[in-house]
């Protein structure tokens, strides 16, 4: 089976619902996430549907370097998601803080706060990269090996 067939099969078994959250980014990645859902890129053909609430979400697609004031909210959203749940860090600042690393009001990446299952770098991450990353995550989940979630690190960078 080709990769697309595999994904389509998986999607028929379980159609992943995603929640999109911005933890303080410049919105560049957020717009690209939305663009991935429009017809040209069409993430929805993989059965992915965007939901408005964490209680129905399987995958948290998250941008931004996590500002101090957003942090508690991000944790609350993660806790409200039912198991099994996955987190995708979209964009360089979600992965590592990016250009905002060292800024006093920024934690420095999603995995400083909640476990991350997949990292999609790029500034901004393009729709193709986002689709590639999400598909890779789905594939690894189907394959039984959920990607090792990185545990939140001790705060060393403020």
């Amino acid at each position: 089976m080709s990769l697309v067939d595999t994904i389509m099969t998986w999607a028929r078994i379980k159609s992943p619902w995603i929640l999109h959250f911005n933890s303080g980014s410049c919105n560049g990645c957020d717009i690209e996430i939305v663009a991935s859902l429009t017809p040209r890129f069409d993430l929805e053909r993989f059965g992915i549907i965007q939901k408005g609430t964490p209680r129905h979400a399987d995958v948290l697609v998250c941008s931004g370097p996590v500002t101090r004031q957003i942090e508690k909210r991000l944790v609350r959203i993660y806790e409200q998601m039912p198991e099994p749940k996955f987190v995708v860090a979209v964009g360089t600042c979600a992965c590592s803080g990016g250009v905002f690393n060292g800024c006093y009001n920024v934690r420095g990446g999603i995995d400083r706060v909640i476990p991350v299952s997949a990292y999609i770098p790029g500034c901004a991450a393009s729709p193709q990269a986002i689709i590639d990353g999400v598909v890779k995550l789905l594939e690894s989940v189907k394959g039984g090996a959920a990607p090792e979630a990185a545990a939140p690190e001790e705060d060393g960078n403020g």
Partner: protein
Amino acid sequence: MDKEQDVVAKMREIFPFPEGSIAVQRARRINAEFREGDFDDLFNRTVSAGEFTMLPAISGLDQGDCFAVIYHLAREDGIVLNLKRIVPKEKAEVRSVTRLFPCAELYERELMDMLGIAVNGLSAGRRYPLPEGWPEGQHPLRKDWNKESLDT
């Protein structure tokens, strides 16, 4: 730059600017510095005599030996006056200009949060831009502040 010079002349009529403290920097840019006197009176009269209809921004600075608050005033014809008010650190307070420019509210709250300059006459309201729970006395834009001061 006749229009700019006209504005400078009007301002000199309103207030005795010391030599060198008011000048046309380039087309559509006038800089003026205020150290002592009745600032509120100068501000109010400048806005009406100079026909400044917009206040795009208020910049607060820590200049080392003092603070400065720059009121960036603009006219419909594009001329901008950067009116810098020197504010002593020992008495870091200014009066709100929201009576003339309601939009100044958020810009003034920013002075309070980021530099710790008190703005008198602002109605009670939530802080901006720092988050709730930000510790007292921590003002990020002060030159002697760095983020290590936050670590508890």
